[in-house]
């Protein structure tokens, strides 16, 4: 089927764009009126039922994260502090952005033979798809640090290294089960 068949041709009246413009303007103006009234109510000390805006004042007020939100990666540690990662390079293979760089090495003790010597993630390339977490057979990489502010002055600084990744902790308190109930916008 030709995609164009799905669309009715516009009538003369519609072609003036006036009906669409008018209904659109009515909608936006409706929002304007409602929010303005609430803002004014608040300004003069009355308590509006809903706030005039849904904004969170971000650095001061954090919006709780959904439990499934993917934030900066971390590498899980074993009890002795060594990486749980065995350098199997599954995450490196699956990564669609090709931003994980692993070089494996022999691990001193015998039962687990392998561990990553280099484990770099180029956050400048990472698209935070979470595939690495899915692919990991050891549950060694997770994206639950709650860190979303990632920036650097050079490309090189966007690399996060093995030891940094190992030192990160999960941030449970940033996450919530029901952000829709907990999150209250502030003015």
């Amino acid at each position: 089927m030709n995609v164009h068949d799905k669309y009715k041709p516009l009538t003369w009246w519609e072609k003036t764009y006036l009906p669409a413009i008018i209904s659109g303007v009515l909608l936006t103006f409706g929002h304007f009126r409602r929010n303005m009234v609430n803002h004014i109510k608040k300004a003069i000390g009355m308590k509006p039922k809903v706030s005039g805006a849904v904004t969170f004042q971000y650095p001061e007020v954090r919006r709780p994260f959904w439990p499934r939100l993917r934030t900066l990666h971390r590498l899980v540690r074993r009890e002795d502090g060594s990486p749980r990662c065995v350098g199997c390079m599954m995450c490196e293979t699956v990564c669609p952005a090709h931003c994980i760089y692993i070089v494996a090495e022999e691990r001193p003790e015998n039962q687990i033979e392998k561990q990553p010597r280099i484990f770099d993630i180029d956050l400048g390339k990472c698209i935070f798809c979470g595939y690495c977490v899915e692919a990991c057979p050891e549950d060694a990489i997770r994206m639950d640090t709650g860190i979303v502010e990632i920036s650097a002055y050079t490309r090189n600084d966007m690399m996060i290294r093995r030891d940094q990744l190992l030192s990160l902790e999960p941030k449970k308190e940033y996450y919530t089960e029901r952000p829709d109930l907990e999150g209250k916008p502030v003015l």
């Binding site: 072609k15 003036t16 764009y17 006036l18 413009i21 659109g24 303007v25 909608l27 936006t28 103006f29 929002h31 304007f32 929010n35 303005m36 803002h39 005039g52 805006a53 849904v54 904004t55 003015l187």
Partner: protein, 367 residues
């Protein structure tokens, strides 16, 4: 001495009008635009710029922005035509500012018995002057685009010139109806002519006499300002436009031009269609209530109050129109280039021609 005072007051009032229009309202307009859009979209809008902990609802952002634009690097691309590159934004802003010269912002003020027109220049061909100025505005854009030595800018400039020229036609022709109705091309005269009442209750404003022309003028006017939904020439974020290579104050001037043109179009809409400075119903009341005794030595009390009221009425109407234009700007998505051209040539132009014919026939038989 009296002459001097008259002259001084005259120029002062005009100067104040100009300053308010250009240098105060435009930056404030950026704030208005941000805040209005924020409220429309359930947001707060810019509110972080602060001076000594004072945030003033984000008003300082206008200040911060201008400071930023002034101090930013003014970058001239390699291969650019330096002279024209520097000149183009000035041309652009120059013609936008020039347009304000013929806007009448109140009725005649009487100072020491001498009438002073509340208009920067009282041109009897004000309307034609306005056309001329509007026609020149496109040069700033095209020259800037060409001088940038950037293909994207050049394409943006082409889109801009095509759009501006197309819509100028409709603007011009839609205003012919106004000329026919009010029998003048002097903006002051046109405004005065809107003071009468139609059928005893309806002000004889352009919007009532020329409703079709009003819509055409508004649509074409918004297109002239190159703002959404007619921002195909600029499209900052996606298709990039004629000022892509401008930074710092060069960009600032183009930016300011946009806002100035918005105000200018609003002023003209008010002048042609919303009775200009006319404050219907209260003007008679003011004249009757206050005496014509001397006030402050040189003014007549009722005339002075009337002038102030008229000026406020004018500003109020302009604000209303700007509010409307902003609402439209934050409601509609961008028109595609072919839609812009179709609308201009296939819709607005025939309609405005039709408007002229009908108006002419009616004027012929009635007037």
């Amino acid at each position: 001495m009296a002459d001097f005072i008259v002259g001084a007051v005259e120029y002062l009032s005009k100067f104040i009008f100009f300053i308010i229009a250009v240098l105060v309202i435009s930056p404030v307009l950026t704030w208005v635009e941000r805040k209005q859009s924020a409220v429309m979209q359930d947001r707060i809008g810019a509110n972080r710029a602060e001076i000594l902990g004072l945030r003033m609802l984000g008003l300082f952002h206008a200040l911060a922005d201008s400071l930023k634009l002034f101090t930013k690097e003014y970058f001239v691309p390699k291969g650019a035509d330096r002279l024209i590159f520097h000149l183009a934004p000035c041309i652009s802003i120059f013609f936008a500012v020039m347009g304000f010269a013929v806007i009448p912002h109140a009725d005649t003020l009487i100072i020491s018995g001498q009438p002073v027109e509340m208009q920067i220049v009282n041109l009897n061909i004000g309307l034609l002057y306005f056309f001329a100025v509007l026609g020149m505005a496109v040069y700033g854009v095209v020259l800037g685009a060409w001088a940038s030595n950037n293909n994207y800018a050049l394409l943006g400039g082409l889109r801009a010139s095509a759009q501006m020229i197309s819509y100028e036609v409709s603007i011009g022709i839609s205003l012919v109806g106004i000329i026919l109705v009010y029998q003048s091309v002097d903006l002051m005269e046109i405004t005065r002519a809107q003071g009468d009442l139609l059928f005893g209750f309806l002000p004889k404003w352009g919007i009532f006499l020329q409703p079709l022309a009003f819509f055409i003028f508004m649509a074409a006017g918004i297109a002239e300002t190159k703002r959404i939904p007619f921002d195909a020439p600029e499209g900052e974020s996606e298709i990039v436009g004629y000022f892509i290579e401008y930074s710092g104050m060069g960009f600032g001037m183009y930016f300011l031009t946009d806002f100035l043109e918005t105000i200018l179009i609003a002023c003209l809409t008010v002048t042609f269609f919303l009775g200009g400075w006319q404050a219907p119903f209260i003007d008679g009341w003011i004249l009757q209530t206050f005496s014509d005794s001397t006030f402050l030595g040189i003014f007549q009390l009722n005339n002075f109050i009337l002038t102030i009221v008229q000026f406020l009425a004018f500003v109020f109407k302009v604000c209303l129109v700007i509010f409307m234009m902003m609402t439209i700007r934050w409601t509609l998505p961008r028109f595609r280039y072919d839609q812009i051209m179709n609308l201009g040539w296939k819709m607005l132009l025939p309609l405005s021609l039709f408007n002229i014919v009908v108006t002419a026939i009616i004027v012929y038989f009635i007037g």
